[in-house]
């Protein structure tokens, strides 16, 4: 917690850090356990015993009262109680339910006691282990059972992290990584041979599950327009909804002749942001509805540097196009933590225009289409995907149409390393992670 990252090194003792972590999570676990035991002993078990193990008898109600108590915050609470006499207990006792339930309103406590008349006989249940304990009412406080989630949460977080830290104690990063790779289980399907032979190269199953009409594969777009539109709509509505409250307040003051310039100054920047969000939302709607779908198909996938592929592009809509381009791009993506924020840095490292045209019409009910050749440069870096770093290849269609904002749609592709002359390497057996005893 107190160490700093300097380049690739961290200051501070790793042992102390681990010890501190163990202490903290052990404390969390112990607190959760203690809290759980307390709740079980004071509430859960007595309630359960009252409902399952108490024996039924009859009791006569001798008196009723509402006891006053105070909670830890000093608030007044009302506890309904009835004085009963039953055959099992030598003395008369004040009781109601096993939890001595309390209520914040006097009327609620009274309403419960009104069910019992003084002098009348009612069923009651007594503890066979301690006949002096008896109740007139049984049942479960369901809200209370939900309270158990709190200590269980503490235990899960504390215990889980404690187990994780102890498991990794004294293990080097290489050892941890090797164990993680050895024990990796794909929950939904076994790793394909391709993924094992080409580690860190992203899966391309989602890119090749849609056949094309002109070429073998139809590529999916990387961004769902629907989600972007939904995001823009949500941001616009929520922001402007909140700002509207203050705008109405400010306008009302103006109408009433009370000029609050501080409120006006405060609302102004928020109003400007709200205006931009409206503009952005309208722009997204225009693009979604006005610019028709773009279809991208490719002759083969995945791609390999140095080889040529055919690409088919189709653009629909009622548009007067100023320009339309098809590009091949490579982008590096690096994710890092800066304080409490997580940031992602994206840099384009390669861009090649495959096709460009301009000044043409797309008529309603018709579409523009073209084919072009794609060749990933020799020696180009393959696609790479790790937790914090990625190298991504994509095809992009960029267009400018008269009267519409510029649009761009991208289609991820996966580039593999070039094949070796004697074939690619099959993965080594998993047991290259040797046993710890030594060989």
């Amino acid at each position: 917690m107190f160490g700093k990252k300097r380049g690739h090194r961290r200051t501070g003792s790793k042992t102390l850090r681990n010890a501190g972590e163990i202490l903290f999570f052990a404390l969390l676990f112990v607190l959760g356990t203690a809290f759980l035991v307390l709740l079980l002993a004071r509430k859960v078990i007595p309630e359960w015993r009252a409902n399952h193990e108490f024996l039924e008898t009859t009791a006569t109600v001798l008196d009723k009262r509402i006891e006053h108590r105070h909670d830890p915050d000093g608030n007044l609470l009302f506890v309904p109680q009835a004085k009963i006499h039953d055959e099992q207990s030598p003395d008369d006792i004040w009781t109601y339910d096993i939890s001595a339930s309390s209520y914040s309103r006097d009327a609620d406590a009274e309403a419960l006691l009104d069910r019992f008349e003084v002098g009348q006989t009612y069923p009651c249940w007594y503890d066979p282990l301690n006949p002096e304990v008896a109740v007139l009412v049984r049942g479960y406080s369901l809200w209370f059972w939900m309270l158990l989630l709190a200590p269980v949460g503490f235990m899960l977080i504390g215990g889980g992290r404690l187990a994780y830290t102890l498991w990794h104690w004294g293990k080097s990063p290489e050892h941890q990584a090797a164990r993680g790779q050895l024990g990796r289980i794909d929950l939904f399907e076994e790793l394909g041979a391709r993924e094992k032979d080409f580690p860190t190269i992203p899966h391309d199953a989602d890119l090749t599950n849609s056949p094309g009409t002109h070429f073998q594969f139809r590529l999916p777009s990387s961004r769902s327009q629907g989600w972007r539109l939904l995001g823009a709509a949500a941001a616009c509505l929520i922001w402007n909804g909140l700002v509207a409250v203050f705008v109405v307040l400010a306008v009302r003051k103006h109408v009433q002749g009370e000029f609050d310039w501080r409120l006006d100054l405060l609302v102004l920047p928020f109003l400007l942001v709200g205006g931009f969000l409206i503009y952005y939302f309208v722009r997204e709607i225009l693009i979604a509805t006005g610019v028709g779908p773009t279809i991208m198909e490719i002759s083969d996938h995945p791609l390999v540097p140095g080889q040529a592929y055919q690409v088919y592009v189709s653009q629909q809509g009622h548009l007067s196009m100023k320009s339309l381009e098809v590009l091949l791009r490579c982008e590096e993506q690096a994710t890092f933590r800066q304080g409490t924020d997580t940031r992602t840095d994206r840099r384009e490292v390669f861009s090649q225009r495959l096709f460009r045209t301009g000044d043409f019409q797309i008529l309603p009910g018709e579409h523009f289409e073209t084919r072009c050749e794609l060749r990933v440069p020799e020696g180009a870096m393959h696609s790479f995907e790790a937790d914090h770093n990625q190298v991504q290849w994509r095809l992009a269609v960029r267009g400018e149409a008269e009267g519409w904002p510029p649009f761009e749609r991208s289609y991820p592709v996966v580039v593999y390393p070039p094949p070796r002359t004697n074939g690619n390497v099959a993965a080594e057996p998993v047991d290259h992670v040797r046993n710890e005893v030594g060989v």
């Binding site: 590096e332 870096m381 393959h382 070796r420 040797r434 060989v439």
Partner: protein, 151 residues
């Protein structure tokens, strides 16, 4: 009396001093640990791994890992020169990008009984991906074969 902290001397050699490898090639070599009493070593690990450098947080992937522990085999001589050998994978290739770099190395880690550990590594290159230079958009002029209304 002041007790000097011993720092082991870890030497790693790759056969034929080869520095560039292709996927599928055999990476072989040897390592040895000196300048520390045998009784002070508790365990030794060797790994062939890749890791990332650059703007993003570090990622690490282990291709080959082996560990020897004196606790499990007390008669084991952790000092002795040991060989290692592995067939290098198809990916990821070594890469020097603008924000992302992928580096391969052989790493030896020696653990002492006092709890400290010491690391040495020897880098090598897997594959031959050229250095990335910041690039402006490269236009490939093609004749327009626009067809409106389908073929």
């Amino acid at each position: 009396m002041i007790k000097m902290l011993s720092q082991p001397l870890i030497s790693i050699q790759i056969d034929q001093r080869q520095q560039v490898f292709e996927p599928g090639e055999v990476l072989a070599g040897a390592f040895q640990i000196d300048a520390v009493e045998p009784a002070e070593l508790s365990s030794v690990e060797i790994s062939v791994l890749w890791f990332t450098e650059g703007t993003g947080d570090e990622d690490l992937g282990v291709h080959y890992f082996e560990r020897w522990s004196a606790a499990d085999v007390p008669e084991l001589n952790l000092h002795q020169r040991r060989r290692f050998q592995t067939v290098l994978p198809n990916s990821p290739l070594s890469y020097e990008g603008l924000s992302v770099k992928i580096c391969w190395c052989v790493r030896v880690r020696a653990f002492l009984r006092q709890g400290r550990d010491f690391v040495a590594e020897k880098s090598f290159q897997l594959g031959n991906v050229p250095l990335i230079q910041p690039q402006a958009e490269e236009a490939v002029e093609k004749k327009s074969d626009a067809q409106a209304g389908g073929e």
